[in-house]
């Protein structure tokens, strides 16, 4: 008798599937529902030269500050309650990362194009702006129909691997968000070759419908290769309704951009630990830094 696949794995097992130089996407939005336990595992790894695709938040800042990023594909980077991400800013101002900017809507089209396996999707977004100067990957296309309109061809943002964080999932990879917004997590997984979902809690398939309506079941197991159970795994970003953003911790993280010494102290205190030790230290500290 055959049994369904159990896709459960650890962060470190998932990260072992990655290679330096890969293009890796992270779901969520700003400082909301980010797969942070996976980001922390990447920080502990020897991976370098990554191209990062993200609706940028502290995932981007942490990877930039740790020298993991060669190229950044993004429309914004923000910590929400702290509008400007200081570690991302420092990397840009030092000129240490390659920059591939998009408009937010164009970024959505790039994810959708990749998930639909077409090379681009057309849009008028970007016309007239300096995006066409600052992102040489962007090209325009003339409509083949009678209107003959010139449009921007938003290129497919294909990825080698993508990670998203869900409130609940089963061991087969069906994922559920219970917060206010699905963001674009399904598209990240559709755009990637290796696809991982981390979740606050792995539950049975039957129990998913006890947690929320069918519309909350955003991710199908057809889009998932690995399921990582990661309680508090989005910390310090928000994961409503399970928990809000840890604002005190985020402040300490942002403040660590002040000097190489303050970054080193933050890194030493929080980013050299295993995920279990990180969570234990948080609990001992009462939740905040």
């Amino acid at each position: 008798m055959t049994t369904p696949k159990d896709k459960r794995c650890t962060e470190d097992e998932a990260v072992a599937e990655l290679r330096s130089g890969m293009t890796i996407g992270f779901g969520g939005w700003g400082s909301r529902r980010k797969p942070m336990s996976v980001v922390r595992a990447i920080l502990r790894s020897g991976l370098t030269d990554l191209t990062v695709v993200s609706w940028g938040g502290p995932d981007v800042g942490l990877l930039c500050a740790s020298g993991k990023v060669r190229r950044l594909v993004y429309a914004f980077v923000s910590l929400d309650s702290i509008p400007l991400e200081p570690h991302f800013r420092a990397a840009r101002q030092r000129g240490t990362i390659e920059d591939e900017p998009y408009d937010e809507g164009m970024f959505l089209l790039g994810l959708q194009a990749a998930a639909w396996r077409v090379p681009f999707l057309p849009t008028r977004v970007g016309l007239g702006s300096d995006l066409l100067r600052d992102n040489p990957r962007l090209k325009t296309i003339t409509s083949p129909y009678d209107d003959g309109e010139e449009l921007v061809a938003a290129p497919a943002l294909t990825m080698d691997a993508a990670f998203v964080h869900m409130n609940r999932a089963d061991a087969r990879g069906n994922g559920q968000y219970l917060g206010p917004d699905p963001y674009f997590d399904d598209l990240f997984l559709g755009a990637a070759t290796k696809r991982f979902l981390s979740t606050e809690k792995v539950i049975s398939t039957e129990d998913l419908s006890k947690e929320g309506p069918a519309q909350s079941l955003l991710i199908s197991r057809m889009l998932v290769d690995g399921v990582i159970e990661a309680p508090n795994g989005a910390h310090f970003t928000s994961c409503d309704p399970d928990y809000g953003r840890d604002e005190a911790f985020q402040k300490a993280y942002a403040a660590s951009a002040k000097s190489p010494e303050s970054w080193e102290a933050f890194r030493e205190a929080w980013l050299t630990l295993s995920e279990a030790d990180y969570q234990a230290k948080l609990r001992a500290a009462g939740g905040g830094a």
Binding site: A75, F76, S78, Q93, D99, T123, G128, S129, L131, E150
Partner: protein, 258 residues
């Protein structure tokens, strides 16, 4: 007489009314003001003269409440409006956004991405965000709470939101949805109602002189012979703002009285 009344009115309330006026005539579209006073001004427009506007809770819902920031008696939800839906509104032409601007120039070009040379900027900001898509698809206005020559400047370093010169270069068909309606600042209201769409002084807030506005602007504004004073809030509007829309007076922190 007007000056006496003006001295009794908070500058923040004048700004909120000026924001509200940007949405006059918009009808049944998504009014999407970003920022404290823009949120208040948008709510004010809907609660008074533009009742059919749709507005967000700042996250993923459209709600009917007049309160701008907190809904102690519960939010009245009209629609599920996650980010992916927001882009549909933008591309469907159903939105008037009021964005911030780190720089905005005489043609209405806006920058929120980076100050200095883009490749290695002096100051990295948010990124392009949605500014290119907003300005090519829908009416856009800007909110500047700190009017200075560095912000309202001769030329922006990076064009995120496109102004009238960029739109003109695209031609009338490609730019047929483009309109920069107003720039509301802590000192005045600006628009582009000139033959070549150069920025024009539309009104000065009570207590502000034309010279002060010009001194705070990085290029010569078009100044009509007769520049009116920005409309004062009515007693009804002041009451609404103070008791319903913004009872915690967050607006006074964004624009203190001079």
């Amino acid at each position: 007489m007007t000056d006496q009344i003006a001295s009794l009115v908070d500058r923040a309330d004048v700004c909120a009314v000026a924001v509200a006026e940007c949405f006059r005539g918009d009808g049944e579209i998504l009014a999407n003001p970003i920022g404290t006073i823009p949120m208040i001004g948008g709510r004010l427009a809907r609660a008074t003269f533009e009742p059919d506007l749709c507005m967000t809770d700042g996250e993923a819902r459209l709600i009917a409440n007049d309160e701008a920031f907190e809904w102690p008696n519960g939010a009245v939800v009209e629609h599920f409006n996650p980010y992916r839906q927001m882009f549909s509104w933008v591309w469907n032409g159903r939105r008037h956004v009021m964005m911030g601007a780190t720089q905005v120039d005489r043609h209405g070009n806006q920058n929120i991405a980076a100050i200095g040379a883009y490749a290695q900027p002096k100051v990295q900001l948010l990124g392009y965000r949605g500014a290119p898509g907003n300005t090519i698809n829908d009416v856009t206005s800007y909110w500047v709470p700190n009017h200075s020559p560095a912000v309202v400047c001769e030329a922006v370093d990076t064009v995120c939101g496109i102004g009238y010169d960029r739109a003109a270069a695209l031609g009338p068909h490609a730019a047929r949805f483009h309109e920069i309606r107003r720039v509301v600042t802590n000192l005045c209201v600006l628009d582009f109602d000139t033959p070549d769409h150069s920025m024009r002084l539309r009104s000065v807030h009570p207590g502000v002189t034309i010279d002060e506005v010009q001194a705070a602007t990085g290029f010569p504004l078009v100044v009509p012979d007769d520049v009116p004073t920005s409309r004062l809030p009515t007693p009804e509007e002041m009451e609404l703002i103070a008791t319903v829309i913004d009872p915690k007076a967050l607006r006074l922190a964004e624009v203190p009285n001079p």
